[in-house]
Symmetry: C2
Subunit: 271 residues, 2 copies
Amino acid sequence: MSDAAHPFDLAVRLAAAGEGAYAGRTHPAYANQVGPFGGVIAATLLNAALSHPARLGDPLALTVNYAAPIADGDFRVSAVPARSNRSTQHWSMALLRDDEVLTTATAVFAQRRDTWTATDAGFPQVPDWTALERTAPAKVAAWTSRYSLRFARGGDLTATPAQENADSTSLVWVQDDPPRPLDFLSLAAICDVFYPRIFIRRPVFVPAGTVSMTVYFHADAALLAAQGDAPVLGVARASHFGKGYHDQVAEIWSRDGLLLATSHQIVYFKE
Amino acid sequence: MSDAAHPFDLAVRLAAAGEGAYAGRTHPAYANQVGPFGGVIAATLLNAALSHPARLGDPLALTVNYAAPIADGDFRVSAVPARSNRSTQHWSMALLRDDEVLTTATAVFAQRRDTWTATDAGFPQVPDWTALERTAPAKVAAWTSRYSLRFARGGDLTATPAQENADSTSLVWVQDDPPRPLDFLSLAAICDVFYPRIFIRRPVFVPAGTVSMTVYFHADAALLAAQGDAPVLGVARASHFGKGYHDQVAEIWSRDGLLLATSHQIVYFKE
């Protein structure tokens, strides 16, 4: 890597603009078909709370509600500590342009301490990163070039003839391109790296987009720092599709089998 | 049922108190060890948005952040429509006392329309409601008497000698006591009916409590109305325990095998 800032850091960068107020700007490297990649929007809102001088502890939970498309250009982010306790802190955030709310979010930060520990979810059977080929980025969405995605399952969006799959599970190794040390911001973004499950399940391209996403961080800052820029394994599936929406349940694992985050979203789809 | 209001309706009742402002009061029938049952707090916040004259559509997503204990007594709830689109509406809510924020929440409402539909999650192998006995309520938490809980698995909190279980899965039939027709409010509350997974997994009673819960409603108003007061099946499990927190993944199924809601939470535990 050169000395220049990583494009992800440029995309989530905020300038202080008063108490709990920040100025940001969309970055072309993480553009989606309309507005920025949702993962970068989530990371930008988290960054506002993370950068706030009153912040205590590490991110534990993040919920982002994608209320409206964000056209390219400048925006403002507000972050308000709604409540600070001894070991937890609750945040309300919003992304605005011209006083119009485009995204809302809440976050919980926590002081993490060693306790009894167990992982009941199972690390999936999957070929190692080195045994798989990188999938070509989607030309219609610039942000897909900013991740090296190596699918072990559920990544073929161009099956011909289109045939319904039995489920919507994807298994995919994910690494920032260029590689970048993992932190809370990039992990939040990676939780949104999965294509809408409806594209995998049917597979048919219909208009679709995330309406709300929640991330639970199981890793603390030290565990994330220990990952360096190693690829992480993403697992995603849906429970139910119907009445215009489907959910998505996702896990992000370290290469050595530690559960770094779990994430959920509800996704709009047409027809 | 008599003509008197159901205790759940009394517990989530709000009186209009200005634009987007509501007055409520804790109800002893749904008391937890400290403050009200979290499910009733969630339903009360949802009720503020649901009761708002600007409300469009049915609840689709709800996130509730339990920022501080709510001592018995009066409280205020605010509900602000942050953004209204053609088919979705985004809400920010808070529960306050003396201008102190005790709970924050966001919700997404949506106009649901018929689309392609599939359920990929599987309805579990479980004995019917009629084949199981009701579990005795927990004396220390009044709200547990307001649900008829019939556990098929993962309900024995008093295993002696205490022995770690292989996982934290619970399968439990749930019905309001007295029975009450299912709606969005009671379904939101039922998503929090599960005991902290740490109690099942170890099983050891340590201080524990929900920090944040998200509910995705897969059922629309018509499907909920069709349930009447029939019991629903709850399934809950954790993915990971560590550094003072564990998650919970839950599903709520109708008796005839329709997925009504999925829910997630992050739970604080000590030691």
